[in-house]
Symmetry: C2
Subunit: 401 residues, 2 copies
Amino acid sequence: MTYQADGVPVTVAARAPGRGGEPVVGMVGAGQLARMTCQAAIGLGIGFRVLAANAGDSAAQVCAGTSVADYRNGADLLAFAAGCDVVTFDHEQVPRAQLAALERAGVAVRPGPGALHLAQDKRAMRERLGGLGIACPRFATVASSGDITGFAAVSGWPVVLKAVSGGYDGRGVWVCATAGEAADVLAHAREHGLELIAEEHVAFERELAALVARSPAGQGAAYPVVQTVQRDGICHEVLAPAPGLPAGRRAEAQRLALRIAAELGVTGLLAVELFETADGLLVNELAMRPHNCGHWTIEGSTTSQFEQHLRAVLNLPLGATGLAGRNAVMVNVLGGDDPDLHDRLIHVMAADPGVKVHLYGKLVRPGRKVGHVTVVGDDIAQIGDRARRAASYLSVGTEQP
Amino acid sequence: MTYQADGVPVTVAARAPGRGGEPVVGMVGAGQLARMTCQAAIGLGIGFRVLAANAGDSAAQVCAGTSVADYRNGADLLAFAAGCDVVTFDHEQVPRAQLAALERAGVAVRPGPGALHLAQDKRAMRERLGGLGIACPRFATVASSGDITGFAAVSGWPVVLKAVSGGYDGRGVWVCATAGEAADVLAHAREHGLELIAEEHVAFERELAALVARSPAGQGAAYPVVQTVQRDGICHEVLAPAPGLPAGRRAEAQRLALRIAAELGVTGLLAVELFETADGLLVNELAMRPHNCGHWTIEGSTTSQFEQHLRAVLNLPLGATGLAGRNAVMVNVLGGDDPDLHDRLIHVMAADPGVKVHLYGKLVRPGRKVGHVTVVGDDIAQIGDRARRAASYLSVGTEQP
């Protein structure tokens, strides 16, 4: 069968139809991203399965199609993929060799191993983006402490050291003020078998994120560009759309993300984290999956990022990405001292009947992302205050809402 | 613990806490209402279980906490309830004696058997509402064909005959133009052991619905009043808010529904289906659960009816019920000739990226509710056209979008 995407006819491969012809998407990993994708799949009537490391994982608690297996094991992955029309990911941890083996076995892997590799390997990503002429922070490969001091002689201190792979949410990133600090990080990295790159410490004005979707047919769709606020390397809050962003800069960020998605052959979502500087935009990180910078889309956009990811990996026509009328602010809920999140939820609901709370079913540990809140409204300052107050009460346990 | 509801302190019973203190709601029945409630429970981090008649039921396909058992069997119900903090319902079919037995066993049954009985038994509902002085269509109990002709002598033909219990979506309702037709229906009813009531055929201007929530603490919340359009006794479309409804009439409908919820001791949602006539509002039907007239709230209101039902039955503070900024139109998708709904979905997505499609995972049978579509926007005529076109293409299979 065929449909039109941006005026171009697209052919969708024939499938063995389910009850109502619905395809099955399998997501490797069962964190909160898979949990929220599960909600979207229920709405679309799409079959949805997750491969969970543990039965208690966030998505495994709620998804009827849960397999508990080891995503690093090729046989486990193949067995999981056998029941799915498309395999996609909640995280970047599946080894490249296993991804390639899945693809060789004829599995539709989306995003494909070639693209996903660039979200897994920061050095490869920097080299590839550099080759495309896309502005990024200056970087250098690091084999010795001399490489770091040599880089610092050009870019100045502090220097940012990053693990080439495996880091996320601030893990695997060290901001080093001196050569001594850098030498300590390098020693630590060698001890743990980590490769490093060095990056300049960018004096940005603020951080932005451009979230786009791209389907195998090549259809692209860009969400409004948002401002992200990080704390300790973890996304803390997202303002949608980015306040005061000139239309030209917004369009530049969207075009940049759509171009990266197309050049890298991404299928599904691509989140491009950006530094906005006095000299323009620099690409900080890439993620090829639903991303924290897009949680606001559940209430704030016509199509949530989770539904959009499903549509994209299934080669379905993409959904409208506009604001659902108004601004949105999303604030993460980090675990505090109180393990009883539900008890705290009651107070937040009583204090603000309009706040949307999302809890992930995760055990509360200090600093762990256990949920998020979103408030939609006209006045971004006011909705930001409401979202921060609700998240703070759920997170910390010391502040009255 | 306690919280404030409308300024009144409310005490929530102590529970055995889950991982994060979250309670477990069990829903008897696993149709599309349970399926959409499951999506809401995932967001809130609430434990959610369904008691399904069959493993292939709409909600059973997607809910990780599914038990397949017989809702008419007391032992099955008790076993299901043992794992839940609160038991609620996707349909009105659980026998009253079993509900009472659950309550005697200490189960929190919401709505309680006393209230639910009035959604199960149209004669009891009419008598109770009449006792409260609430305007309803004229009605009479029917023991013989003489009762029908005697009623018609006062109210005129046609006469509406309704099964006292067990009817829904147009089943169990017969509009009889003549005494001969009425006699045929009475014979049919006797053959199937159905009791009947007779009601006047109301010459309404349009149908409205007032959806409210009420918690055990007595907190109430009313959604905007909607217009419903029925076809063959099945809800076909919902316009939110009801176009051109004067503020006084809207407030009257909301107050009426809140009063019925309070007088009847409803916990959870109450949908009041109304006839708007030249002489004012008449109550047509009651439902004490999420209802087709509230599906638009998923995208169109700050709090979806499914989340609101969970909040109400758990005695949590209720959520904001306002429009999420704009109008919404919901149109049901009825099964047509083509079993491959997914194939049709692709065309609808390509034709209108802003339409929100909900499919229920049900086998397509002609006339069966298999999904719904919602469009949110400023111009109710335009969004109505878009929603009807999408639903028509999914439903009938003969009309190009």
